[in-house]
Symmetry: C2
C-alpha cells in the first residue's frame, strides 16, 4: 500500500496501542501507558521533560498528570532548587503496576519483531530515530518554500 511514511507510522501506532490496551485490561488505568513506561526510566523528572520526549503538549500533560495522581500512580513535588519545576514521582502502586506495563510493551515488541532479523530490526530502529530527529530539526518554512518551488515546477 502506497502511503507516506508519516501515515504508515500513525497506522502502526494505532494498531500497536489497540493491542496494548487489550493486553492491559487488568491495570487500574486505561491509558497513558507510554508516560508510565517513560517514567519507569525517568522517575522524578519534571513535566516538561516528559513533554519533550513524548511530543505531548504541556497543557495536555497537566491533565495527564492530574489523572495519574488521582489514580494513585504518581505524585507531584516542587523542585526546591527551581520552584517552577514539578517533579513527577512514581508511587509504590505506580512502580508496581508500571512494571507490568513495561512488560506488556516489551511483550508486544518481542512478538512483532519475532519474525524479523536482528539486523533488519536494528536498521528499522535506527532509521526511525533518524527520521524523528530530522523532523525535529526541520525548520518547517524551509521545507515549505522548497515544496512550493517543486510544486510549481511540477505544475507547469
Amino acid at each position: 500500500m502506497n502511503v507516506p511514511v508519516g501515515t504508515k507510522a500513525l497506522i502502526l501506532s494505532k494498531r500497536y496501542y489497540g493491542v496494548l490496551s487489550k493486553s492491559l485490561e487488568n491495570i487500574d488505568i486505561e491509558r497513558y501507558y507510554s508516560i508510565l513506561y517513560f517514567l519507569n526510566e525517568n522517575d522524578g523528572c519534571n513535566q516538561q521533560h516528559i513533554c519533550n520526549n513524548l511530543a505531548i503538549d504541556k497543557t495536555a500533560m497537566v491533565k495527564v498528570i492530574d489523572y495519574l495522581i488521582k489514580s494513585g500512580f504518581v505524585d507531584r513535588k516542587v523542585n526546591p532548587e527551581d520552584r517552577r519545576e514539578h517533579f513527577i514521582i512514581l508511587t509504590k502502586k505506580g512502580i508496581k503496576q508500571t512494571e507490568e506495563i513495561v512488560n506488556a510493551f516489551k511483550a508486544i515488541d518481542a512478538e512483532i519483531f519475532s519474525t524479523i532479523s536482528k539486523s533488519d530490526k536494528n536498521t528499522f530502529i535506527k532509521v526511525l530515530c533518524l527520521l524523528t530527529n530530522k523532523l525535529n530539526d526541520l525548520p518547517s518554512n524551509d521545507l515549505f518554500f522548497n515544496y512550493k518551488k517543486t510544486a510549481k515546477a511540477t505544475k507547469k
Copy 2:
C-alpha cells in the same frame, strides 16, 4: 531514547503531521490530508475501504467526508450496484488541491530520507509494513495470556 516501537512511531507521526500542516497552509483545508492522499490513488472507493486502509473508525469517517464535501473536495455517490455503498469521488477542486497535498507529502518523505541509504530506506519501509500486518493479525487475547504468564514469571 529507549521507548517502545509503537510510541516511537506515534512520535514520528506527530512531528511528521506538524511539518506537513505547516507546508500546506495555502490549502483550503487544514486536516485529513492523508485521506486525500489515499483518494488520489483510490478515487471512487467507498468509505469502508478508506477506513480499512487508514485505520479510521467508520463513524469518524462520516464526519471526515462531511467536512470534505462541505469544503468542496469530494462528492458522495451511491453505488447503483450495491446501494449500501457510497462512493467517494474527488471534485475538480479536490483533484487540483490533492495534487499539491501529494507533492507536500512526497517532499517531506524525500527530505527526511535524503541522508539515509537506499537500502536502509527499503528495509525500514519493509519492516514498517511487516510490523503493521503482524499487529493486524494479532489475536490480542493470545498476546494477553502470553504477557500475563511472563509478567507473573518475572514477578516471583
